[in-house]
Structure formats: C-alpha cells, structure tokens
C-alpha cells in the first residue's frame, strides 16, 4: 500500500530535479545565443591552437622516431581533448559571474536539490563542447586532416572527450562553489593549463626530454591523449586505461564538486 506513494514521490523528485536543471541549462544557452561573445572564446581558442600547432609545428613530423601517420590528426586529437577540458572550465566563468550577480543564490533557494543547478550548468558545458567539436572537426577535415580510425574508433574518442569535459566541469564547479566569485577564474585555469601542457603535446612521449618527460609519466592526461591519438589512428591502445584515468578523475571531481556545493550552501544559508 505504501509502495505507490513512494514511487510517486520519487518520480516527483526526479521531475523537479530535471525541471531545475533544465531551467539553468536553458537560461545559459539563451545567454550564449544572445551574446555570442560568451561562446566565441571557447570556439576560437581550439581553432587557433589547432592552426598554430598543426600548421606551425608540422615540421616535427620529420624528426627521427616520429611515427604517427599525420601531424594534423596528431594535433587535432590533443586540441579536441584540450577543448573538452577548457569547455568544462569556461562554464565555471558563468557560475562565478552568477554568484557575483546573486543569481545563483536565488537559484539555490528555488531548487529542491541544489545539485540540479550544477547539473544544468554541466549540461550546458557539454552541449557547448559538442558545438565546438563539430566546428573544429569540420575545419580540420577541410584543411586536409586524414582520419585513419573507423567510425567506432571516433565514437570512442568522442566518449573519451565527453568524460574529460564532465570531469573538467566538475572541477570548475568545485572551485567556483568554494570561491563564489569570477575573480577566482585563474585558480581554475592555471591547474588545468599545467595538466594539459605537461602531457605529450607536440611530439610522442619517447621524443620528449627533460622534466616534461618525467611529468608526462605521472600525468593522468598522458594516457587519455595517447589513447585518443591511437583511436584517431585506428590502432586502439590502452583505451581502458584512458577511460579508467578519465573516470577516475571524474569520480574525484564529483567528490570535490559535492563538497564545494555543501560549502556554498552553508555560506548562502
């Protein structure tokens, strides 16, 4: 007799959660389309990095020991994963700005479960990232990038990028719910930049020397980038390790974001 009301209650809670997340998501997407300046940096930076790295450094493919099939594809994979990470971080700017303007406080007061507010931002981060990837991928193909991987390999690469995007978003959400101001933006960007740039960016790991060679060994992003490149080349390598690293980072960031949310709730109470 009590089972039915419990199910109804759960359904109602789920519906309210989705409704709150959808509101935040639509609000953000509305802003993005109304003010393209918000989306442009997220779109221009990956394109610019792709142009600068694939165009300016293509001579590196002549270095003895460089055995990847196409330097454009080599750099595209990095830029895709980099834009996934920065796409997650860029949404942190919006969270910070909404804290500054007081919107987040009102959203928190209105939402039954406040994690729904973050879920809305997360969904917006993902949709924005997918839009950016579609454009970067189109331009890369138009400018001569060769794809050696199969459709299934590419789907694997996109899923890897999605997990990276979600993990980066959770990191940004954790930082912004702690600092609750846009001025904390460098605290989000700098660690992300350090992790990305100490992965094998320009050449395969075997060709890197010095302290970056040591850093790449311990950087979890190395497995993600290397596996992404292997999927692009149609020669999957350490894919499970890469997904384990990405999901592992994501799981840590879930805890980080949840704790940040608790702190924000306590501060706004």
């Amino acid at each position: 007799m009590t089972a039915a009301p419990r199910i109804t209650d759960r359904a109602s809670r789920t519906s309210r959660y989705i409704s709150a997340a959808r509101t935040v998501f639509w609000r953000h997407m509305h802003f993005v389309f109304k003010r393209p300046a918000l989306l442009l940096p997220a779109m221009i930076f990956p394109l610019f990095f792709y142009m600068a790295f694939a165009g300016g450094l293509s001579g590196l493919s002549n270095v003895p020991g460089f055995d990847y099939y196409d330097y454009n594809a080599f750099q595209f994979t990095f830029v895709l994963l980099q834009s996934a990470a920065f796409g997650g971080v860029f949404i942190g700017f919006s969270i910070g700005a909404d804290f500054d303007s007081g919107i987040t406080r009102r959203l928190f007061l209105a939402a039954h479960d406040r994690s729904a507010v973050l879920a809305g931002y997360g969904a917006a981060a993902l949709i924005r990232a997918l839009m950016v990837w579609a454009i970067v991928f189109g331009i890369a193909l138009l400018t001569g990038m060769e794809v050696a991987g199969s459709f299934a390999d590419l789907v694997g690469l996109i899923w890897l990028a999605i997990v990276v995007n979600v993990a980066a978003f959770l990191f940004a959400a954790g930082m912004m719910t702690r600092f609750r101001t846009m001025q904390a933006a460098p605290a989000m960007q700098i660690p992300m930049f350090m992790i990305l740039m100490t992965a094998p960016v320009y050449v395969p790991r075997d060709l890197i020397e010095g302290w970056v060679a040591t850093a790449t060994k311990y950087n979890p992003f190395t497995a993600i980038v290397e596996s992404g490149r292997s999927l692009m080349a149609g020669d999957p390598f350490h894919v499970l390790l890469a997904f384990a690293a990405a999901f592992g980072l994501g799981a840590l960031m879930v805890i980080f974001a949840r704790r940040g949310l608790r702190k924000a709730e306590a501060a706004l109470a």
Partner: protein, 266 residues
C-alpha cells in the same frame, strides 16, 4: 648651459617626469601586474624547451639547444603583456576620473603618453634581465657575447615601448579596461602565427609560412633570437629594430590622435 637648464625645466619634461614616477610607483605597487608577466613566459619556456627539444633534430635547425632557440619567445611574450599593462592603467585612469582631473591642469597630452609608458618600460627592463639570467642559468647560449647584452636590452625596450604605445592607443580609444584585456588573445594569435616555434624555412605548411612572413612579430622575434643563436646578424637586427621602432612611432601617432579625440569629447 642655459639651453640645457631651460630644457630640463621645460613643462613637458617636468610633467612627464611626475607622471612617469606615478606610473612606475603604481606598477611597482601592483605585483599582479609584474609577477604573471615574469612567471607565465618562463613557465611556457620551460615546457617548450623540454617538449620541443626534438625539433633540434630536424635537418637545418640552426642550433642544438631548443632552449637557446626558444629564449626569444618570453622576451616577445613579456612585451605583449606591456600592451595590457599600459592600456589597462590608462583605461582605469579614464574610468575613475583621474584623466578628467588632469585635464583641468595645464598638462600636455604628450606628457601623459610619455609618463604612462614609464611604468611599462620599467617592467620591460625587469623582464629582460630576468629572462636573460634565467635562460643563461638554465644552459642557454648567448652567441653575441657581452656586447650583445645592451643590444638585446635596447631591442627589448623598443619592442615593449611599441606594444605599450599600442596599449595606450586602445586604452584611450575604448576607455575600458575590459576592451584592453580583450586584445590579449589577439596579440597571442600574432605571437603564435609567427616563426616563434620553428625557423620560417622549416615550417612545412605553406599558408603558415606565408602568415609568419607577413607577420611583423616574426622579425622582432628573429632579431632577438639572432643574438642568442647566430651572434651578430646585421640583417635580422636591422629588421627587428625597424619593425619595433616603426610600430612604436605608428602607435604613438595613433595614441596622440586618440588622446586629442578624448580631450575634445570630455
């Protein structure tokens, strides 16, 4: 003697001196304006010197040390920060009303421009000394020898003055710190679409090679690099100085016009 004394006490010199001192003190009091301009270029240098060391194995690469090759990069990157420093400071003066108050005094526009650049040039000197010392300590070569040091500093000074003057122009035109900050990515595009990472003749993509050849930043970076890699390369140095000084002159003229326009508006 009399002429010299007159010049020393001329209004423009006195005004510029006071404003220059204010600019230097103001910059020195804001570590946030100095520290990132020192640390960030050195961090990128550390990454690139290690991550791109394999580039020295490309046939025709001019040196066996990528650190030596890449050391020109922070000099130019640091100079690009001058755009932000000069433009943001001036925009802040406009936004908080200091600029309007100055207009009530008999101050000349040229004094304001010269004075505002002083803080930027102070940072440029600190940057040049830091980058050179860190680079040499990390094992970079400096082929031009001891006499190359003043040339390097003069070049660095000229490049920073050019970018600083450009920042003043944007600050005066827009009157907004945000607009000046928005220029930073554009400046970075100029830096990356140059011969900063590889010599122009080793860039394989034709479009990129053309972009790097058109891009004036390539010539200033090649001038700075020549002192580290080649020693004394007259052509590279002449081109570097011509580009830097021309950029400075054009930017100052543009800033003067922008200043006149703003004075008329307010």
């Amino acid at each position: 003697m009399e002429a010299a004394a007159l010049y020393a006490n001329s209004p423009i010199r006195t005004q510029a001196r006071y404003l220059a001192w204010r600019s230097v003190v103001r910059t020195a009091r804001q570590p946030i304006m100095i520290v990132p301009t020192l640390v960030f270029p050195l961090f990128l240098l550390a990454i690139n010197a290690s991550g791109l060391s394999a580039a020295t194995e490309i046939p025709g690469f001019p040196t066996d040390s990528y650190l030596t090759f890449a050391l020109a990069f922070p000099f130019i990157q640091g100079s690009i920060f001058a755009t932000n420093t000069a433009g943001t400071n001036l925009a802040e003066d406009i936004q908080n009303g200091f600029f309007n108050r100055l207009q009530l005094t008999p101050m000349r526009g040229s004094s304001l421009l010269a004075g505002q650049l002083a803080g930027v040039l102070m940072v440029a000197i600190v940057q040049a000394i830091t980058y050179l010392l860190v680079g040499l300590a990390a094992g970079a070569h400096f082929e031009a020898g001891i006499w190359g040091v003043p040339v390097l500093f003069a070049l660095s000074f000229a490049i920073s003055a050019g970018f600083g003057a450009f920042g003043l122009f944007v600050g005066l035109r827009s009157g907004s710190g945000e607009a000046v900050q928005g220029l930073f990515p554009l400046m970075f595009v100029l830096l990356f679409l140059s011969s900063a990472s590889l010599p122009r003749d080793l860039i394989q993509q034709d479009w990129f090679q053309t972009a790097a050849t058109i891009n004036p930043v390539s010539y200033v970076i090649e001038a700075v690099r020549s002192l580290f890699v080649t020693g004394w390369d007259g052509e590279a140095l002449a081109l570097g100085f011509i580009v830097a000084i021309s950029f400075f002159v054009v930017s100052m003229i543009a800033a003067s016009f922008a200043m006149r326009g703003r004075l008329e508006r307010t």
